[in-house]
Amino acid sequence: MSNRRKVQWITLCFIVLVAVTSLFFFLIYQTLPDQNRRLIDEFMGNGLYLLFALLSLWACAAFGVDLLYRLLVEPLNRLVEEISLIGMVNSRHRLKVDGGIFFRNLVQAVNAIAVRFEAIQKYDQEKIKSIKAEVEKERNILAAIMAELPEGVLVCNHTGRILLYNQRAKQFLSRYAASDFQKGQDESKQDAFVGLGRSIYSVMDKNQIQHALDEIEKKLKNNQMNVVAYFVAVGRAGEMLRVETVPVLNQAREFTGFILIFEDITQHLQTTGRVAGTLSTLAREIRASSANIRTTIETILNYPDMERARLDRFREIIHKESVALGEIIARMNIDRETQHKTHWPLAQVRLSDLIQMLVEKAAEKLGISIRFEAFELPDCVQADTYILTLAILFMLSRINQENGSKGFSGRVERSGSYVHLDLSWSGKPLRGEVLRQWDALPIVVESEQLPFTFQEVIGHHGAEICAYSDLLKKQQASLRLFLPVSDTSTAEQVRLGTILPQSRPEFFDFDLFEHAESPPELADCMLTEISYTVFDTETTGLDPDSGDEIISIGAVRIVNGRLLREECFDQLIDPKRTISSSSLRIHGIQAEMLKDHPSIDKVLPRFQRFAADTILVAHNAAFDMRMLQVKEESTGIRFTNPVLDTLLLSAVIHPAQEDHTLEAIAERLGVAIVGRHTAMGDAVATAKLFLKMIPLLAEKGILTLQEAMAASRKTYYARIKY
C-alpha cells in the first residue's frame, strides 16, 4: 500500500471514530432526564465549540497533508525512481513528472543533465565496445572455427555441465536422441535438449561416459602419454556416434572437465557392413557353386567311360551351377554397389553451379566460349570442383590445340544414374587413341598444374569419358563426360558459412568452469548465477478454469546472465477448440493455423524437459502458471520449478510507478519489443527486461532467489489470482 493511501485511510478512520462516538453520546444524552441534560449543557457550553474547532482543524490538517503528499512527496518519489532509472539502466529515459512550476523546472534541469549523461555514456560505451571487440576478436575467431569443424565438439566441466558445443555436436546429438518410442528407450531422454549449462547426461548415457572417464583416470595415474578414451554410442534410431573423450586438466594435472568429439559413423558402418556382407555371401555362394562344378568336372575327367545317363546328369549339374554363378553376381548387384563409390573426398555440388563455373573459367583462362543449351536438371554431382574444372579445361585446351576450336556448345542430360555432359565443336572428331594418350598426362592449364594425371582425376570422380561424332551432323564432334549423380537422400549438412560474431557466441561459456562445484541451496543462489527459462503463452481466452487453452508457448533460456537466443522453444499448439474473438484480435492466431500442430499433451512434456533445472520467469506469471496448472490432471505434467514474475519484480523495483504492463516496463527500461503478442516475442522481451531488473533488484538489496521471491510476495499485484 502506498503512503498516500495510508494517510487517507487514517484520516477516514478518525472521522468515522469521532462520528460514532458523537452519535453514542448523543443517544445517551437523549435518554437522560431534563435536569441532567441541563447540567451537561452547562458543563459542555463552550467545549462543544472547541470540539468542532478541533475537528475542523484536524480535517484541514489531513487535507493539507494529503495535498502535500500528492503534490510533493509522490512526485518526488517518482522523480527519485526515474532518476535512478536514468543512472542505472536506461540513459535514454526522460522524466515526465507532473507538478507545479517548481517541479517543471526541476524536471527540465534533470532531463538536461540526462541528455549530457546519455551522450557521455554513449561515448564511453563505444569506447568500451571497441576495446572489448579487440579483446574478443581472437576468441571469437577460435569460436567460429570451432563452430565449423566437421566433428562435433562438446566441452563439459567435471560434473557433466555443458560449457561449449558446436552446431555439429548439437546436430549429431539431436539425431542421436531423436524420438523412437518403438524401441522402449528411456523416454526422459526423448528430444533431449543440448544447451549451455545443461547436463550432458540428459542426452547421453552416463555409464558410457563415466566408463571412458574411469579409463582416462587410470591412464593419468599410470602417467600414460595417450590419455584419450573412445566409445561408440548407439542412438535410438540406430545412429552410431564414435565418441573420443579427452580430459581437460589444470596446471596440477587435475581433472577439471572433459571434451567429447563426435563423429557420425552410421553411414560408414552401413556401407562397410553392406560391402562386407556382400563379399561374405559372395564368397560363400561362389565357393559352393565352384566346388560343385569342379567335383563334377573332375569326376567326368577321371572316369571317361562312365555310362551315358550319368554323364548327362553330370552335364546338367555343371550347367545348373554355372547359371547359378551368374545369378549370384546379378543378385548381389555388385556393379550398382560399387559404381558410384570413390574414395576421393568429394563434395556435393549442383550441376548448374559446376557448369556456370566451367563456362566462366573457360572464358577467363583459355578465351574459349561454351554455350550450354538450357537444362532443368536439379541434379547434384559429387565433385572436387577445382580439379574437375581444371581437368575439363585441360581437355578443352587440348582440343583447341588439335583443332583450333574456340567455340563449344554444351549439353547436359540425365542418363540412368549418371548425367552426361557433352562438349561439342565443329571440326575433326577426337580419337579414342588421343584420349588414351591424355590419360597419362598431368593436368596443366596455363600456370596451374595438378599433381594428378587426367585418368586419376576421372577415376577419383567415378566418371567416364568418351569421344564420339554424330553421324547425322558430319562436321560436329563431341566429347561426353559421364558423372555419377549424387544421392541427395542423404543430404549434406547445410553450412551457411562462418560469420564472425560481434559478441560472444552463444554456444560457449567458459566462465561456467569457474562456477562452484556444489552450488548452494537454490533459494540462496545469486540471481546472477541461476539458469532461467523465460516463457510466455498465448491462449484461446483469458479464463483457464472455463476451458481456455494454450495455443502457443515461446521460451528462451538465460544462463550465467546471458540470454541464449539460439536455445529457444517455440511451439504452436492445436487447442482443439475455438479461439475467442477478443484473443484473436490480440495475437492474430486463427484455429485453422493450428490444425497440424501437436496437442498440449504432446507439447507439455517437451516444454518440461526444456525448462528442467531452471527457474521459470514470465510476465504476469500467475496467469501462465494457472494455464499450465489446469493441465496437470489431464497431462500428468506438473511444473514444480520456482517462478519469478517480472510484473511483481517491477512493482518491487518501482513501487511509485502505476503502470507495470510489459510495454510500460519496456519503455522505462529501454527495451524494444519485437513481435509483441507472439509467445516468442513476449518471452524474449520479458527475458531482456528481467536481465535489466537484476541490477536494480541488487540496488535494493535483493540478491538471491529467496529474497526476490519474498519481495515479490509483498507487492500489491501478488494478490491477483486466476
Binding site: 551368374g326 544414374s417 552426361h420 587413341e433 567416364e464 564420339y468
Partner: protein, 124 residues
Amino acid sequence: MPHKVLIVDDEPNIVLPLQFLMEQNNYEVNVASSGEEAIEKIMQFEPDLILLDIMLPGIDGYEVCEIVRLNPKWKQTKIIFLTAKGRDVDVAKGLVLGADEYIIKPFANAEVVSKVKKLLGDGP
C-alpha cells in the same frame, strides 16, 4: 552365302564355345584376341557382325568400335559388346560409341544367338 561373324576376345575359354555356337548356327566365324588383330581381321575378313570384348590387350574394344564407326566402308557392320563391364556407365559409353547391342557376362547362349540373328536379319 552365310553371314560372317568376328569374335574378338582374349579369353580362349569363351572364344572356343562361342565359335562353336556361331558355327552351329551356320555363320562363318573368325577370331581375334587383341584390338590390333581385330582391326586387321576386319579389313581382311570384312565381317557382318563383331562380338567384341572391351578389355583387350593394346587397343581396347571401345577404340575398335570407334575405328569401325569412323570408316564409312564398315557402316553396315553390326557390333555387339560382350563384356564383363557391367556398370550403367559402361553400357551408356558402349552405345554412344556406336555399338548395336551390349551383353554383360555371364550370359545365356540363347541370348547371344537371338541378338546376333536379330541384327543380321536371320531371326524369326
